[in-house]
Symmetry: C2
Subunit: 320 residues, 2 copies
C-alpha cells in the first residue's frame, strides 16, 4: 500500500491531465477546471484507489472511477453553494461567486455527466454493478441534501434523524468510493460490502468531527470558527445541546444578534453541557464500527487493514 | 406501426406508473411529478418508441429508455427555467415558480440520475452503446445551452453558428431518442445512425418552425406571440433579418420599449424582408434532408418509413 499523499498525488496528476474543449465553450468548462484544481482532501478518490490496491496490488485500474467520484463530489459542491448562497469554498470564491449562478448550475450539470462517463470506464464485467452503485448513491446524496434543507425549517430534529441525514449526504459517497474501488480491484461481494460499511461509518465520524472543528478547531480550518453557530446550522453539537437540559439556554443564545457574542454564548453552553465530550464519544463509536467492519475482509495486500485503520485515525484526529 | 397518439399514451401511462418515495422526501420528488405530468408533445419518447417498433415490431423494449429521455429533457427544462428566470412553462407556473429555485436545481439533478437509471434498463449487450450515446448527447445539450447563453451577449452571431447551437441544444436529443430506440429494437449500426440523422435534421426543422410560430403562430401556442422579439432572442428569423439589407432597421426596431409597438415593428420588417419565406425554405430544406436520411434504412415494419415521414410533416406543418 502507498501513503495517502501518494494516492492523492495520483489523483491530482490525473485531474491535471483532463482536457476540455476550449474556445467558444470556455464558459462551460473553465468553472470545471477551477472547481477541480482547488484541491481539498481528495478523500473520496483516495479511498477508491486504496480499495482497488488492497484487493489487486495496484490502484491503476481505479483511477478513472476515482476521478469520477471526485468529479461527482465537486458537482454537488457547485450546486450546494448555489442553494446555500455560499460565496466562499476552500478559502477561495466559490464557482457561483467567481462565475455566476448560471455557470455553477450548467457546469455542475456537465460535471455530473462527466462523472458518469469516467465511472463507465471500467471493464464490461463490472459496468452494471459499479454504475448501479453510482446512481443509487447519487440519489441518496440528493435525498440527504433535501433533508438538510428541510431540517433548516424544523426545530424538532432528533439525533437519529441527523445521523440519517449525514449518512445520506456524506457517508454513502465515501461508502461508494470504497465499494467501487474494491469491485474494480476484484474483491468478493462480501468484502466489497464490508469495505462500504467501513467507509460509511468513517463518513459519519468524519462529519461529526467536522461539526466539532467548527467550534473547537483552529482558525485555519478554511472556514471562520463558529460559522455553523452563526447560521443556526443543525450540527451534531447543536442538536445535542437542544436535547440536553440546556435546551432553553441554547434557544436563547441562538437569538443573540452580535456574532462574537452569539458564538461565545453557544460555545459556553457546549462547555457546560459537556457537548464536546458527547461529540467526541460519537466520533469514537463510529470509528470503532468502521475499524470493526475491516475484521472480516480478506485483503490481498498485507498492509491494507492497517492502512485503512490509519486513514480513519488521521481523519478523526485531524485539527483542521 | 401505431399512431403518434398511441405512442404518446404509452408514455403517459408509464409516467403515471412511476413511483417515488413520499413522506419526508416529498420536497425532492413532488417537483418531479409536477414537471412530468404536465405533458408537452412527448416528441422524444415517441420517436424512441417508433424507432424500436420500426426494427422489431414492438415498442415494448424501449419504454424505459423512452422514459429516460423524457426525464432528461424535463431535467434540462427545470434548469433552463432557472437560468432564464422563466416563470411559466407550458401554460403553468414553471417548477422554479411553483417550488422555488433550490427545488428546481436539486429535483433537476435527481431527474438526471433517474434518467440515467431508466436508460440503463436495457439488455447488457446494448448497455454501453446506449449509455455512451446518452452521455455524449447530454454533454452536447449542455454545450448548446452554453452557446445559447453566450449568443445573448453577442450581436455578430451568424446563421451557421445559430444552426450549430440548435443542433446541440435541440436536435441531438431527438437524434439520440431515435438512435437509442433503434439500438434496442435491434437495428444495424448503419440503420441506427441513419435514423439519428433523420431525427437530427427533423430537430433543426422543428426548432426553426418554433421560431416561426413565435411570430406567425396562433395565440394558443402556449406562449404569447412575439415573446422572442420582446426578449431580443436570437432566433432564425431575427438573425436572418440582421443578415439582410434590413439590418439597421431591425436594430432600431429592437430598441423600441413599448411591447406591442416593438413586436409590430420587427414583424413588419420580417414581412418586408421576406423572412417568413426564408425560414419556411430552411424548414423545408432540413425536413427534406430528414426524409432523405430514411431512404437507406431497412425497416422490418412495412409502414415505418411512412410513419416517420408523416411525423416530420406533422411537426413542420403544425400551427402551435
Amino acid at each position: 500500500m502507498q501513503t495517502i499523499s501518494a494516492y492523492s498525488a495520483i489523483i491530482n496528476e490525473a485531474i491535471s491531465a483532463l482536457t476540455f474543449p476550449a474556445g467558444s465553450l470556455e464558459g462551460l468548462y473553465s468553472p470545471i477546471t477551477y472547481a477541480l484544481e482547488c484541491g481539498g482532501k481528495r478523500l473520496r478518490p483516495v479511498l477508491c484507489l486504496m480499495a482497488c490496491e488492497a484487493f489487486s496490488g495496484s490502484c491503476e485500474r481505479a483511477v478513472d472511477v476515482a476521478l469520477g467520484v471526485e468529479m461527482f463530489h465537486n458537482f454537488t459542491l457547485l450546486h450546494d453553494d448555489v442553494m446555500d448562497n455560499s460565496l466562499m469554498r476552500r478559502g477561495r470564491p466559490s464557482v457561483m461567486a467567481e462565475y455566476g449562478v448560471n455557470a455553477a448550475i450548467l457546469s455542475g450539470d456537465t460535471m455530473l455527466t462527466l462523472a458518469t462517463q469516467l465511472t463507465m470506464k471500467v471493464d464490461d464485467k463490472h459496468l452494471r454493478r459499479v454504475m448501479d452503485a453510482f446512481n443509487r448513491t447519487a440519489i441518496e446524496v440528493y435525498e440527504g441534501q433535501q433533508l438538510d434543507v428541510d431540517f433548516e425549517q424544523r426545530d424538532d430534529v432528533t439525533i437519529p434523524e441527523y445521523l440519517d441525514m449525514i449518512r445520506l449526504k456524506t457517508s454513502v459517497l465515501l461508502g461508494y468510493s470504497a465499494l467501487a474501488g474494491a469491485i474494480v480491484g476484484g474483491a468478493t461481494t462480501a468484502d466489497a460490502d464490508a469495505l462500504y460499511k467501513f467507509a460509511e461509518e468513517l463518513g459519519i465520524a468524519f462529519q461529526i468531527k467536522d461539526d466539532l472543528l467548527d467550534v473547537y478547531g483552529s482558525a485555519d480550518f478554511g472556514k471562520p470558527i463558529g460559522g455553523d453557530i452563526l447560521n443556526n446550522k443543525k450540527t451534531y453539537l447543536l442538536l445535542s445541546a437542544l436535547h440536553s437540559d440546556f435546551r432553553q439556554q441554547t434557544l436563547e443564545a441562538l437569538q443573540l444578534t452580535e456574532a462574537q457574542q452569539k458564538i461565545a454564548a453557544v460555545t459556553a453552553i457546549y462547555d457546560k453541557a459537556g457537548i464536546r465530550e458527547t461529540a467526541q464519544r460519537a466520533i469514537e463509536q463510529h470509528s470503532q464500527l468502521a475499524i470493526r467492519a475491516l475484521d472480516s475482509i480478506s485483503f490481498s495486500e498485507p498492509g491494507a487493514r492497517q492502512a485503512f485503520a490509519d486513514l480513519c485515525e488521521n481523519l478523526i484526529n485531524r485539527s483542521k
